[in-house]
């Protein structure tokens, strides 16, 4: 489903973010990408979202080289990938409901679908009573759950979380990790980039370890080892 083929990324001469990275993610897999800050996790995700271009190598999503796509085609691919960030990245002038509805509007869904799907995902993340709150009126954990709801509402094939729990307290962290597990069981591929040892050790799924821009370990039932 996702295939990194010998990908390297240099931001400028002498600063290598990724070096000859190759790996495959199968459909419905739950993959954690671990490594210290600066190991290349975020770069890897930016490349996958076509936010950045690789210096060399290719990245395939459903057998499509995503860096060959035109400016028009990129949004179509992004709608199939739900993304969650450490800093939530909600739209501050829109309510929780509108933030989620925006993803559907952008994808061109009709009003009836939006009216049906948004309450559904709000319920899934347990925020039905916060639909009309603005992001600044929500706690960190609630904001992240809105972001998850927004990522899920387009029924993406892949859910990517970049340090999604980095700004949350332990209780919220576990709730969100449990939510990821549930989403994965429902058939969505989950890619989790993190440097949180406890999370990785508890999940007990595939772990890809990055060090200085290289894949140093790739284990089926991995632990966080550095």
């Amino acid at each position: 489903m996702i295939y990194f083929d010998n990908v390297s990324k240099k931001y400028n001469e002498g600063s290598v973010a990724l070096e000859e990275v190759s790996f495959t993610i199968e459909p419905k897999e739950f993959v954690s990408i671990v490594g210290q800050s600066g190991a290349g996790k975020s770069t890897l995700i930016k490349l996958l979202l076509a936010e950045e271009r690789p210096s060399s190598g290719k990245i395939f999503f459903e057998s499509q080289d995503i860096h060959q796509l035109s400016k028009r085609e990129i949004p179509v691919v992004r709608r199939k990938i739900g993304t969650i960030f450490q800093d939530f990245r909600l739209l501050p002038t829109k309510t929780a409901y509108e933030n989620i509805a925006f993803a559907l509007e952008a994808a061109g869904r009709d009003d009836a679908e939006i009216a049906a799907d948004v309450p559904h995902v709000l319920d899934l993340v347990g925020l039905s009573d916060r639909a009309d709150y603005f992001p600044h009126e929500l706690s960190g954990g609630q904001k992240q759950r809105v972001a998850i709801a927004r990522a899920l509402v387009n029924r993406p094939e892949v859910l990517i979380a970049d340090e999604a729990t980095g700004n949350l307290d332990p209780i919220n962290t576990w709730e969100i990790v449990r939510l990821f597990g549930k989403i994965n069981e429902l058939g969505t591929t989950v890619v989790l980039a993190t440097h949180n040892k406890d999370i990785i050790d508890t999940i007990g799924k595939r772990v890809v370890t990055l060090e200085n821009g290289k894949v140093v370990r790739d284990e089926k039932r991995g632990k966080y080892v550095l």
Binding site: R78, T83, R89, L91, T93, F102, A103, A106, A107, G108
Partner: protein, 302 residues
């Protein structure tokens, strides 16, 4: 699909406009200032050009004919003049007409009318009043009359007024050039101020733009609301500006008229209200949309 997107873009623009109330207010205020400047320049040009027209109407060259000049000779000169490209119109004042005008002007002055009666014959000659298309043309018209050797011509009054003419001509064209120069300079400044205000407003939304792109929105779906907001800014600002001009022209109109001559600005404002509004609207909308377009372009590269 297209209609749905369009409706969503407009709804989003309205919501943003309303929720970012302070930013919208600031942008509209700055745009009102810019449009006020644009409107003032329009009114200044109207005042200047109506004053120019009035002054120009008062300038003419008159050819006086000898008392015994024959009418066909006079009409010959008239037709020759009318063939000149520089001539706007030629008015023929016959001897009888001149006398009648003279009596009219001095009606009630018994001394003059009794002197005329005593004289018994008409002491006034016929004349041609020539209007040029532009004040700078009088010199060549004068030269034409000088070199033409027309029979019956007594004198041309241009030479007597030549210095005044030249001064007036140069003052008028300088005022016009100055007006255009000032318009261009102020227009450029106003444009830059509005452009920067809108750019700053959009700069605060740059992360939002990036997020919208990452959530899978197309460029036009992200940009649309900003452009429509630009239209709203232009619309609200031009409405506000056009009504600000009401009391101003009402107060200034008669005063400017008594100082410069020319047209009463309030009459112009009242008669051309709709066109004036459309002019301001066009400037405002173009300014708003263009600024938003340029400002969003930077942040849409994600």
């Amino acid at each position: 699909m297209l209609a749905t997107n369009f409706r969503r873009i407009i709804t989003a623009a309205l919501t943003n406009f309303w929720r970012n109330g302070l930013v919208s207010l600031a942008t509209v205020s700055v745009m009102v200032l810019a449009l006020f400047m644009a409107g003032s320049l329009i009114l200044f040009q109207v005042l200047l050009s109506s004053t120019l027209d009035e002054v120009r109407d008062k300038i003419d060259v008159t050819v006086y004919f000898q008392l015994d000049a024959q009418e066909p000779d006079i009409l010959h000169v008239k037709s020759q003049l009318e063939q000149l490209g520089e001539v706007e119109g030629v008015e023929y004042v016959s001897r009888e007409e001149a006398l009648r005008l003279f009596r009219e002007r001095h009606e009630g002055n018994n001394l003059i009318s009794s002197a005329l009666d005593e004289l018994g014959e008409n002491p006034l000659g016929a004349s041609l009043r020539i209007q040029a298309k532009d004040p700078s043309h009088y010199e060549s018209i004068d030269a034409f009359l000088e070199n033409g050797n027309f029979t019956g011509v007594d004198r041309v009054n241009f030479q007597q007024n030549e210095l005044v003419f030249q001064r007036l001509t140069s003052i008028l064209s300088a005022a016009r050039m100055g007006g255009i120069g000032v318009s261009v300079a102020l227009g450029a400044i106003a444009f830059l101020v509005v452009f920067n205000t809108i750019r700053l407003a959009i700069y605060t939304s740059r992360e939002e733009i990036g997020v919208m792109r990452l959530v899978g929105a197309s460029n036009w779906f992200v940009r649309g609301p900003f452009l429509i907001e630009g239209v709203f800014h232009g619309l609200v600002a031009s409405l506000a500006t056009v009504f600000i001009f009401w009391p101003i022209t009402l107060w200034l109109g008669p005063r400017a008229q008594s100082f410069f001559g020319g047209q009463n600005l309030f009459n112009y404002y009242a008669e051309n209200f709709f066109i004036f509004f459309l002019q301001l609207l066009a400037v405002g909308v173009v300014l708003g949309v263009l600024s938003s377009f340029i400002a969003t372009r930077r942040y849409l590269k994600v």
